[in-house]
Symmetry: C2
Subunit: 352 residues, 2 copies
């Protein structure tokens, strides 16, 4: 049976988010109905609300760092029961039988369905995200939240966590690895925590002096001011992996010489032309690569959550009410958050 739930939506690229009523489908036989407790606020939410990428259909309810409690389950659901703490990330469905799905890289399935702004493969309805009281998701895309993990701080793991975990795992980071992280925001602070917990020596590249104490607290062994030529030269040919989390246009060239041979700079934040032009010379001469990485598959997401449970890793967050979202977006644009906003969905109850 469909339900009518409170949410926050953007009605157009130019309007702030505001209260919205959303129809959620009743649980199908393989669905989990989730009461949303917390939802992290990702840069993608803001980009989508404002149609920065040109693909938004309005109204749009953002939110894909969802933590909740199972409210009901369909007849065929195994592995989840009412009351369980669960998470939902950036995807809610995929075809289930392509090479990407077979390998657990559902994000690369041609029919991968985003949590918001996608189209449900069964009923053709537009998907809407986690800035709402409830969501109904196929059990294959529901994650288990390990016991004992702080639920508020766990919300950003569903996007910021897996987005940084995937390259660390795909490029084999472990003890002995030298990893650098570009940018200290929602993604960057998770990259530092996860790389450190995996046993790597971790360096933060930053353009702002004064982040040193915080970076060290998060787990960074070294801080390099990327605007200081001498500091950059001192880390030449050093890193096996650079996780570049910066979500806006920036010059990637200065980081390439700091990669070892066979090293890779992985872009996880910025979508657009690499300007000034990436120079292939140090890439060829040094045998180096620049790659993109998109969130991560469901098996990797569960692996990351379990790892975080074991190492008690959550995001550093600032809890806000749903009504504060537009101010939060403005503060994100100024990097004024340490390090992720998380919406307490109880605040939605004060809406009509």
């Amino acid at each position: 049976m469909n339900s009518n739930v409170r949410a926050y939506a953007a009605a157009s690229a130019a309007t702030p988010l505001g209260p919205f009523r959303l129809i959620r489908r009743g649980a199908r036989k393989d669905d989990v109905e989730i009461e949303i407790l917390y939802c992290g606020v990702c840069h993608s939410d803001l980009h989508t609300a404002r149609n920065d990428w040109g693909w938004t259909t309005y109204p749009i309810v953002p939110g894909h760092e969802i933590i909740g409690r199972v409210a009901s389950v369909g007849a065929d659901v195994t592995g989840f029961k009412v009351g369980d703490h669960v998470g939902v990330g950036c995807m809610v469905d995929s075809c289930g039988h392509c090479e990407a799905c077979d390998e657990g890289h559902e994000q690369h399935c041609p029919e991968s369905t985003y949590t918001y702004g996608g189209v449900d493969r069964q009923d053709g309805q537009r998907t809407q995200g986690g800035y709402s009281e409830k969501i109904v998701v196929n059990q294959k895309f529901v994650l288990r939240v390990p016991d004992g993990l702080d639920l508020k701080g766990a919300a950003p793991l569903l996007c910021a966590g897996i987005t940084t975990w995937a390259p660390l795992k795909n490029y084999g980071v472990g003890p002995g690895s030298k990893v650098a992280v570009v940018g200290l925001g929602g993604l960057g602070h998770m990259a530092i925590k996860l790389a450190k917990a995996l046993g790597a020596e971790v360096t933060l590249f930053t353009r702002s002096a004064g982040k040193e104490a915080d970076a060290r607290r998060l787990g960074a062994d070294h801080i390099v001011l990327s605007t200081d030529a001498a500091q950059m030269a001192a880390v030449a040919v050093r890193f096996h992996l650079i996780v570049d989390t910066v979500p806006y246009l920036h010059d990637t060239n200065p980081y390439i010489p700091t990669l070892r041979f066979k090293g890779t700079l992985v872009l996880v934040g910025y979508l657009g032309p690499l300007e000034p032009a990436l120079n292939s010379m140090p890439m060829v001469i040094g045998g180096k690569a620049v790659a993109g990485s998109l969130i991560g598959g469901i098996p990797a997401t569960q692996e990351m959550l379990d790892f975080c449970g074991k190492h008690n890793i959550t995001s550093d967050i600032e809890v806000i009410n749903m009504q504060d979202i537009n101010d939060a977006y403005e503060r994100m644009l100024k990097s004024d958050v340490k390090y992720r906003f998380v919406i307490d969905m109880a605040s939605l109850k004060q809406e009509a």
Copy 2:
């Protein structure tokens, strides 16, 4: 005892190559003295002769696709004897004890010494290449040429061969792999032959119609005209690996959507800014990479030669005399060679 040998050198960026007398050192205890029979003509020779990369010291004797016969060996040389057919590629020395050397990636050793334009680590002399009668090389950088392989056609394996072999091996190409090659020149035609022999399904991307018959003869299963939008769309998300051999500025963006997730486009020919700017969006969304690859290490070079011996693979060549080198450079700039010039060093004997 030093010897005075005939060679061809460029005296400046603006002058054609001409006859030159070169002093070769006597063989040290771990050196192999090689009578050069054939030397392939690589685009790097031309770039270096004309100082296109800005690092040339004159006079310079190019040539790093060297096939010859052992003339003498130092006291500590094992594994080579007078009369053996041997090869020398792009390197003649390295430190021998860094991580790159330990892993057999001597090309990434900080002390890697190029065959020409480098500086000998022991005597500080400038190294000079294979456009000469003789070369003296540390045994660790001398390759065995398998019996039965055509010596003339084997010369380009020392650079064009290993340059295309290395990414094929590093990215795990074998039966079931779908490999594309960009550009049908000296490197491109070797990439096709090697990928095919490794068991891959091979596609040639070309901007020129009319190469189809030749590409198929070399081993290509498919030919895609990269200027034809419909043909490009038909190979979307298809390739595990693209070996991009084009040695001049070209737009790499159109090839990215043809990579599968986790696929990589490897640049082996072009050194410089990637313009128009490489767009990270399809790289992030699709989980794709752009990498550089530089020749290959000594173990991989020997492995490639042995593979070529087993599969009777050599380069398609046009044999020229040393005196024809300047005309050959002009023809290379017009892509007027199928597919590699090889200098018959016997022609040097007519010089004074």
